[in-house]
Amino acid sequence: MYAQMVDTGSPSATSLDEREARFQSRIDDGIRVEPQDWMPDRYRKTLIRQISQHAHSEIVGQLPEGNWITRAPSLKRKAILLAKVQDEAGHGLYLYSAAETLGITRDQMVDDLHTGKAKYSSIFNYPTLTWADVGAIGWLVDGSAIMNQIPLCRCSYGPYARAMIRVCKEEAFHMRQGYDIMLALCAGTPEQKAMAQDALNRWWWPSLMMFGPPDGDSVHSAQSQAWKIKLFTNDELRQKMVDQTVPQAEHLGLVVPDPAVKWNAERGHYDYGDIDWEEFYNVVKGNGPCNRERLEVRNKAWTDGEWFRDALVAHADKQAQRLTAQAA
């Protein structure tokens, strides 16, 4: 169960080092950590940061696509996009629940997001300018997300791993619907195909940045790998993404916007060019094209819904009072 009473104290006399050693050996043996088990404080904190950031990304990720629900080119596409955006909300909820098992409250997380204290994936700070962007997001952004998330289905923390299994199943639909949009555009008029190429040009690099800084600059990697809450390095996953995506682009008749992309038979991988990390850090710092707008929209939705949430609580309270009165 997803219990909230997480015990951080140490009732036994065993030393912290001994407990940590036992904790690590359980992880090495592939035994899942569950909410009520003892865990090192840093493990708890790292997971809270990782899972809540992930949840925030799902929630904010609704915004760039939500932008196109009313303008989808057909009723079918609109229904599909609605379902996808609804899934993203669901993913956020699964993940918030998993984070709460570590002792942080939902209100705290929502507050951290709305005040700008918490981070979310920087990819969602780029605008969706055309319908092709909805295709490119499903294909590339959800593609990168799946690449990142499939290993997490086997991560050491039980509630997180279980949430990721559900998320991955649903993300597969997201990626395919995106590629399906790209297929349709690329089989269309020259203008439609140009629109698809333009979307690929703008989303390619940000999608590769989603895996995070290069391994040499990644601060938390080694410890997270030992704890099995990160199973591959950023660069390993990024390479997988490039290897998977280049042939998919070729099938569409599109060109990846990187002249350095070339098959390297010796490595058995595609080579690719240098990533502009300055851009990445700039967007993370809050200076991306849409950072401010995303937070404004989130805050507005939260504030506009306040009367409704309050009404639900008032109704629940009244019903509970009636029940007590009847029982008395």
Binding site: Y2, Q4, E34, D87, G90, Y94, S97, T105, D107
Partner: protein, 94 residues
């Protein structure tokens, strides 16, 4: 930030006549809303034919520290499994 909605655990019975199974949790102000939300969050793809929601605070759970005491005694009672008893091969129906 006041008044955080209570947490509910969600159990779903899948299509095939199996028992309700825990699938996750959610916040809702009351049981009716918890059911409504559970339907949206956990059954978007025909995952179930029935939903239970239970307030998390109403669940009593065993403590991880009691694991050995609770479950180890069963280890030494292998005779509870039918395979413990070697049976003559020529005798049928056992």
């Amino acid at each position: 930030m006041k008044n955080q909605w209570p947490l509910w655990e969600v159990f779903i019975r899948s299509q095939h006549g199996l028992a309700h199974r825990h699938v996750g949790s959610l916040h809702a102000p009351d049981a009716t809303m918890a059911l409504n939300n559970a339907r949206d969050v956990y059954t978007r793809r025909n995952e179930g034919v029935s939903i239970w929601v239970v307030k998390s605070t109403d669940i009593t759970a065993s403590h991880p520290d009691d694991k050995a005491e609770l479950f180890d005694p069963a280890n030494s009672k292998v005779y509870r499994h039918p395979t413990f008893f070697p049976m003559p091969e020529e005798v049928k129906g056992l």
